[in-house]
């Protein structure tokens, strides 16, 4: 009858505080971000360390760094807070009068598949309203984990699908996108090695989870519009699934890259999802 006893758990407030400090690595800025004063924040972190019996931060008066345990907690706390946020959001939406499903997908990706899916699902008996969330790269996973979305289209290997249930929908080869008129634009195909060797046209750098960019020669890029423009301007090249060619206007040349990893479009949803609408949507998608 009685399930696990959750006594003496850390409060979400403490986790939020720690995440802020761990991300800023600076009590003052973290306090500002949390809209509070610095001293209570310091105390809260100390108290958290006492309660866990663990040192989370190495502090010198000039800078603070995460201990091993601290970085574990940062990662774990983020997923725990995501779960709490998801609980809140899903509860609110379960109470909303109009049921509706939120489907997240990266803007511009899998457009054709998406429209077919929406049409096919709408024709199903018992279909509910589907609200689309078109978002930037990397975002759908977080939308799913925080309950802002109910289902998402992801693209392996670009997106990570760990922690979700998924069904593969479609696999396609990647192509290199070059500025029109580039010397290699007329080649019948390119190898990965050749693409990487294009020092005049580096591959762009996409932001990581935390918003920072990896080091490297390529330009920083936030979305596909930016990217296509950079390619037109002759400042970058890119690898992308071939279905994206439909999004490209003139000014681009497209060359298949057979040895680039294939991209699989998958439909993903949170495990334990008991929503009939999600199940129907997935079912429809796999029958396309």
């Amino acid at each position: 009858m009685v399930s696990a006893g959750y006594d003496e758990l850390v409060e979400t407030r403490e986790l939020r505080y720690f995440v802020a400090v761990a991300e800023e690595l600076h009590f003052g800025r973290a306090a500002e971000r949390l809209a509070m004063a610095q001293p209570p924040l310091s105390r809260a972190i100390q108290q958290l360390e006492r309660r866990l019996g663990v040192v989370l931060l190495h502090r010198t008066t000039r800078a603070i760094t995460l201990t091993e345990a601290g970085s574990v907690l940062l990662r774990e706390a983020r997923t725990a807070l995501d779960a709490v946020e998801a609980a809140e959001r899903r509860t609110r939406r379960a109470a909303a009068d109009q049921p509706g499903v939120v489907l997240a997908a990266k803007a511009g990706a899998s457009t054709e598949l998406l429209s077919k899916l929406l049409d096919a699902y709408a024709a199903e008996p018992g279909a509910v309203a589907v609200e689309m969330m078109l978002c930037g790269p990397g975002e759908p996973e977080s939308l799913l984990r925080t309950g802002r979305a109910d289902v998402a289209l992801l693209h392996r290997p670009y997106d990570t699908t760990v922690g979700f249930d998924t069904e593969d929908l479609h696999t396609e080869q990647q192509v290199a996108v070059l500025p029109a008129g580039h010397p290699l634009a007329n080649r019948s195909h390119l190898s990965m090695a050749e693409v990487n060797a294009l020092t005049d046209l580096p591959l762009p750098r996409w932001p990581r989870r935390d918003g920072s960019y990896p080091d490297g020669p390529g330009p920083q890029v936030r979305d596909h519009t930016q990217l296509t423009q950079l390619i037109t301007l002759g400042r970058a090249c890119a690898l992308m699934p071939e279905s994206l060619r439909a999004q490209l206007g003139d000014g681009h040349a497209i060359v298949p890259v057979p040895d680039a990893p294939a991209v699989t479009t998958v439909i993903a949803w949170p495990p334990h999802s008991r929503s009939k609408a999600v199940a129907d949507l997935v079912h429809t998608a796999t029958r396309l």
Copy 2:
């Protein structure tokens, strides 16, 4: 730089309270379980409902029931609390001097595979201490989700593996276990239909997640010791993977059931696990 802003999140305390009330469906008992008085609990739930803007419980003065949104929150809150608990445990263990890995498995299951795995892993360079948690059926998943264990051996389709990363290790057929001397004990094989038709020897009922038992004719059973004893006594029969025959003493007859679903032993670990020890253990397991 700044990641998602978790402002105004529900506190774990409120979630714990709600889970208690939702499980007990009775404020008085829930308060007792939480070691507090009933009125503050009532107020806390009301406040939670106000903050979410959602009615979670239908209350009549005699009984309370969950609304649709309430049952969503019950499920979500459990997983959120599990995540918080996991954050706490994993942080504590990350700070412990001796690293160590906790491996959970159902007592008695896959014994042979388990001992081979432990031996093989111990021979690896860089192996750390492996602490075994032998537990009852259904428990390993929860141990993994709450961070009490780092890796687990699970058995599909008995255990659900959603939300974990897994690798298949071994697949085997199931056999029927009957009391020695039973009329069917000498058959070369049985069908599922025949096993289900044994009204004199019903299949036992295992507890669900929440500890309650499904309805049905069979005896309630908590572990394999109970079960084997019930079979010896001629009060039940059972289906189990054939490797379990090693656990059985005399007094049992074993008959293959070819059309029963095959059981796959899988090794499972939480997604995002960055522990080298877990990775090594999984790697070793797949090479067995």
